[in-house]
Subunit: 168 residues, 4 copies
């Protein structure tokens, strides 16, 4: 690990990077990290690296995927990790990671609207996480969405409104 | 001040919000905060408020403008303030504020490319500041640009490359 | 009918105007003509009017819908009509209209990529039709897609490539 | 000339393809045809070719440039030519070409808003010309802007409103 590349961004898929398949007329999770890379490139950000290991709608994330993700994180030298994840099971993955990983700062984020459809929300959520993780903070598992960053069990998706809200 | 609206975003203009004037064919600083408001709206962010007080290209920011800005900040109840500012004299305004304001966290940010031309860099810089200011951090004057947030005198615009770089 | 509003644009839905439903994560045909209106507005076009009568994915267009569309066209004073239609059954609707309407110039067009996802192809197809219908041409039923405008039975969707191609 | 590549698009610059220069903060006419090529690519258009010969703001187009353009057109095998041109002197170039070229259909078009800033108007104007030139029409010099295509001396830029209007 290079000393200057402090933050690791791990892509697991989700709405964040969905792209349109013209032939079938569907939005699909592509097997690449281009949405993240376009954000970093246009934002002139060089102090992080991007890696993808699962490319799934979060409704299809399995326990095996979570184990894979956890092992990847444990193996990594990085102490500051942002995970791009679908919003539907972001809380489950966060809870699982919280049980197994104690000595790293991990922030899960994602998007309600694909970056390919509108660039703002996805960029906003990723950079919210990026700004928070750049500060001095307690090693913990966080969720960063819609302007709020909280410990993973203090912020929840309101499925009716489509917004993440802080819990009392 | 409402308890839920913790972060104040103060607009002073700059490239960030420049828009195209069709009749004259120029990019101009508009007298409104629509670029910031569009980012916050599409990002579903409600825990902040936006206010504008100077709408200038930063090359035209005067000492009088800086005094006005400083007074506005002192008067405000907000302890966490993000300032949207042109990149050319961002460091001068930061230095001036650092001399006069001790008990607040202030982050200056802006953009090299107008939000109206490309939404990513401006959104990225604003949300980098937003994420950082949401954490626990030392009261100080910071600059947040291009993935880096540092004390205002530790980060500088490289005018040849058009990128803000950390100073040793 | 106003003398200056010569061209009628009739919206029947299709991929052209699909928008993203955040709550369900699907692309849906909205019950409005905003995509068309945004194109006309930003293009500063005032010599046409827009009207919507069916808002469906073209796979769901029924014979009853075609009768409705035909009756609407017969009733209208307009001699030049552009129909926004899904690409999958554009040829069927065109064939049906060709049987029943002899004294008007009608151009069917649409898009493979929703305007909400990428503005170029939808704008391009609509304006291709608009430019052609603005000229002197034989009263007939045409399809305008991907740079080609031909009599409806001389141009066909290549479903493998996702492109409309001229037939020999 | 290939039989299938019937339409020639000649780029002379203008607002249509201006891009943002971050270092100087200006919009400049680039020495390439990427805006046109992006429109054609995303529109899946293959029945035309693009060529650039002057890359200037139309206020800087000289009589020498017009002679160059006229000679290029005379030399070309193409009978149908679209010229991308700045809006300020589009009428002057059209008038000059009308004096010298009798046996071709030439449509001048351009944009009030750079394609790099907003994709719709530029795409709309180009495709309006493209649709019109695809029809059978009298060999002549036309201007196509904002939904109107007329003989070059029957349509004029309203410099106060920033819209091209038909002349009585």
């Amino acid at each position: 690990m290079s000393k200057n590349k402090k933050i690791l961004i791990l892509n697991t898929g989700g709405t964040f990077s969905k792209t349109y398949d013209e032939i079938n007329g569907n939005l699909v999770v592509p097997i690449h990290n281009k949405a993240i890379e376009e954000i970093l490139g246009k934002s002139k950000i060089s102090n992080c690296i991007v890696s993808g290991l699962i490319y799934k709608d979060s409704l299809n994330i399995t326990q095996r995927d979570r184990i894979l993700l956890k092992n990847q994180i444990k193996k990594s030298n990085h102490k500051k990790i942002i995970i791009i994840h679908g919003t539907d099971t972001m809380d489950k993955t966060a809870k699982y990671l919280a049980k197994h990983i104690k000595n790293k700062t991990i922030i899960l984020t994602g998007a309600m609207v694909p970056f390919s459809l509108d660039e703002i929300e996805a960029t906003s959520n990723l950079m919210l996480a990026f700004g928070y993780i750049s500060s001095k903070n307690k090693k913990n598992i966080y969720i960063a969405m819609h302007g709020n960053i909280k410990k993973y069990n203090k912020i929840l998706k309101n499925r009716t409104l489509g917004v993440f809200e802080c819990q009392k």
